[in-house]
């Protein structure tokens, strides 16, 4: 009995993928013993003798040297003794390697698993959103509460932002100024669409306040001088204590007053657009401290280095156009806040006091507030409280 077997290009190393047949060392009809050389091969490690692993007679050579073929390619055929081998029955008597039986752990390597790790329980302060979304939302005054997130646990991702859908992303990074403009557009449009504003204004006598400031600044260099805005902010903060309905957030049909008073200040950038960084806990700061924060913040705004907390935490906004502004401005509320205070430009006018005309300096302060949370009477009381506070600047 005999059978024909294939002689294939051997794999001689883990890094051998092919070999080159340089020459045959045997011809059809030759009888070869196990271990005899049938061919000379060239590999990247040099010339190697190719041996046969069985005794038999070469029946045919299938390749013409010199030729490179992949490992496993049939190169020749041999006739060998025996029939098609049946594998011997495995001996079952081998002892198994002795080792402590070990219950294998579940694979915890997180690289093969895509499970979402549950977030620790924490009070849901606001929304889940990715860092870049929070940053954009802050820069662009986006109200994330109006968006539904498509990420884990409803987290808001970049793709969930109106201007950052798949098509925007595909177009590459938009021009930042354009992005800011469209973000402002989105936030303001949403505000006017959804927030029922009511508007009030009050002309406030700031003669004493300006006099107090002049005295205070007389001894000081330009770097240490205090501007009217610092005093106004302090007065706003002190007045807000009694009017929590103006300081907080309206989200998911619910108003949550904010215990801390963080006032956002609108800063317009030279290249266009706005940022609204907040001064935290204004009620806890002295007027001098508020001034320091204001200087620092407007300088950093222009350089574009604001902290995320400054951009995210405002609970009410003040918009102050200063000397070059208008007599009166009504702001548009930044969602999810519920009020925005507008400061007109200070101007001299004649006031009638005790039926006598008197030259005075005034500023018109406006309030735009969310009618879902408060009513006009509340707003009016707040403005009057603010006016009263400004009559005693030394107490601020």
């Amino acid at each position: 009995m005999s059978k024909i077997i294939d002689v294939t290009m051997p794999s001689l190393g883990a890094d051998m993928t092919e070999g080159t047949l340089v020459e045959w060392q045997a011809k059809p009809g030759d009888t070869l013993n196990k271990g005899d050389i049938i061919a000379l091969l060239e590999t990247q490690k040099g010339m190697i003798d190719m041996e046969v692993y069985q005794q038999g007679v070469i029946t045919e050579l299938l390749l013409e040297p010199v030729v490179s073929v992949p490992v496993g390619t049939v190169m020749a055929r041999m006739s060998v003794a025996g029939e098609a081998a049946r594998p011997a029955a495995p001996e079952a008597s081998y002892p198994v390697a002795q080792a402590a039986a070990i219950k294998s752990p579940p694979v915890t390597s997180d690289q093969s698993q895509q499970t979402v790790i549950p977030q620790p329980n924490r009070p849901r302060q606001g929304l889940l959103a990715s860092p870049v979304v929070r940053k954009l939302a802050a820069e662009q005054q986006l109200d994330l509460s109006r968006l539904s997130g498509s990420g884990p646990e409803g987290a808001i991702l970049l793709r969930d932002l109106p201007a950052n859908g798949p098509e925007a992303n595909a177009a590459g990074s938009p021009d930042p100024a354009q992005a800011m403009r469209s973000a402002i557009a989105a936030a303001m449009a949403k505000s006017k669409r959804e927030i029922p504003h009511y508007y009030l204004s009050l002309e406030i006598d700031i003669t004493r306040a300006q006099r107090w400031l002049a005295d205070f600044n007389a001894e000081r260099g330009p770097e240490e001088r205090i501007l009217l805005l610092a005093l106004l902010l302090k007065a706003v903060a002190r007045s807000l204590h009694k009017y929590p309905a103006l300081n907080g957030y309206y989200q998911q049909q619910t108003f949550t007053p904010n215990s801390a008073i963080h006032i956002g200040n609108v800063i317009s950038l030279r290249e266009g657009g706005l940022v609204v960084p907040a001064i935290h806990d204004v009620d806890q700061l002295s007027v001098e401290e508020i001034m320091v924060r204001l200087r620092d913040m407007s300088e950093r705004s222009r350089r574009g280095v604001l902290r995320s907390s400054e951009l995210l935490d405002a609970s009410i906004t003040v918009s102050n156009m200063g000397e070059r502004g208008s007599d009166l401005l009504f702001g548009v509320i930044y969602p999810p806040q519920v009020a925005i205070i507008g400061i007109g430009k200070p101007r001299k006018t004649m006031l009638i006091k005790d039926d006598q005309p008197e030259l005075a300096e005034v500023v018109t302060v406006s309030l735009a507030a969310d009618h879902r949370v408060s009513d006009g009477m509340t707003g009016a009381r707040f403005l009057n409280a603010l006016a009263n506070k400004l009559q005693k600047p030394e107490k601020l």
Partner: protein
């Protein structure tokens, strides 16, 4: 040409360029190199420039450091990174520290080449990826050519450097054929964006670069635009290129054959957290090796190390913010 041929051409060019350069290591001469990289060089350059050493890693690596200190420009081949552990003291305690300890009086212009990586079923003592061990050490520079052009030209850049440089050559690349440019593509310490993309940055190097590129191809077919960043240099890391890519894509998957815990990928992830947090739209993810010494059987070995499909799955997960 193959990656092996590119490395060999780089060695020859270095030997031709500077008479102070020689190649020293185990079986680099008569045997022709464990991985056949230096085959034929002994006949061409002779025994003074292609030097077979005994099996004494600590010894000949130390000698290489001394020769560099003495004015030579040695290329020291350590057969594989696995054996470099025997020489680690010399590399870490001498080569990396001499310049500093001497107050800048001495420098060590030595280059160490070593094969690295898994994939050939060489089991638990022969399949290591210790890049992060060396990338941890101030005083060393660590590079990892993932392309044929880098395999060809990085050696010259390493030799031109006045300080010790380690070159990792992944064993799975040796037989791969590829194009070699006429010159180096960039300084050796610069990371390169190998493929532009908008949606996710795949950060890889060395033997896993082509896996990242293959994954990017598959992702493209599914409408995900992946950017592939080739680190090239593992110490110092080119943070600017990395962060610029993440700033653009907002998502990062780092591919590293080291074990997951304590991997170089972990360091890169930390850099992104520290300096690129506000760019992120999803957690930074790593595709690394499983926490197990590399097993011998092929299917377990492959399961233990990064794979194209794992990278694809991870990229898709970060697209979902997971």
């Amino acid at each position: 040409m193959t990656y092996r041929e590119a490395l060999s051409a780089g060695i020859e060019a270095a030997l031709n360029a500077d008479p102070r350069t020689f190649l020293m290591g185990e079986d680099v001469g008569r045997y022709g190199g464990c991985y056949a990289v230096s085959k034929g060089l002994l006949d061409k350059y002779g025994e003074t420039r292609i030097i077979d050493t005994p099996l004494c890693e600590s010894g000949f690596v130390g000698v290489g450091i001394g020769a560099a200190l003495g004015g030579m420009r040695p290329i020291v081949e350590i057969m594989t990174v696995n054996f470099s552990l025997l020489a680690m003291d010399q590399i870490v305690n001498t080569a990396a520290t001499l310049r500093h300890m001497s107050g800048g009086q001495f420098n060590v212009p030595v280059v160490f080449r070593m094969a690295c990586g898994a994939g050939k079923q060489l089991a638990a003592q022969h399949s290591h990826s210790w890049e992060n061990l060396y990338a941890h050490i101030p005083g060393l520079k660590v590079i990892s050519p993932g392309t044929h052009t880098d395999a060809r030209f990085m050696l010259a850049q390493a030799l031109a450097d006045p300080d010790p440089v380690i070159i990792f050559e992944h064993v799975m690349l040796l037989n791969e054929s590829g194009e070699v440019a006429g010159q180096a593509e960039a300084p050796m310490e610069k990371a390169l964006v190998r493929r532009q993309g908008q949606d996710v940055s795949l950060i890889a190097y060395g033997g896993n670069l082509h896996k990242a590129q293959a994954a990017a191809g598959q992702l493209a077919a599914e409408g995900i635009s992946a950017e592939v960043v080739d680190l090239r240099c593992l110490r110092p890391l080119d943070k600017a290129t990395l962060l610029a890519s993440v700033a653009k894509t907002h998502r990062a998957v780092i591919i590293d054959e080291g074990w997951h815990s304590g991997s170089l990928a972990g360091e890169i992830s930390a850099i992104i957290m520290e300096e690129g947090f506000w760019y992120l739209d999803a957690p930074v993810k790593r595709v690394c090796s499983a926490e197990v010494p590399i097993p011998y059987p092929a299917h377990l070995e492959q399961a233990a190390i990064p794979q194209v499909e794992t990278i694809v799955a991870m990229a898709k997960a970060v697209m979902e913010g997971r």
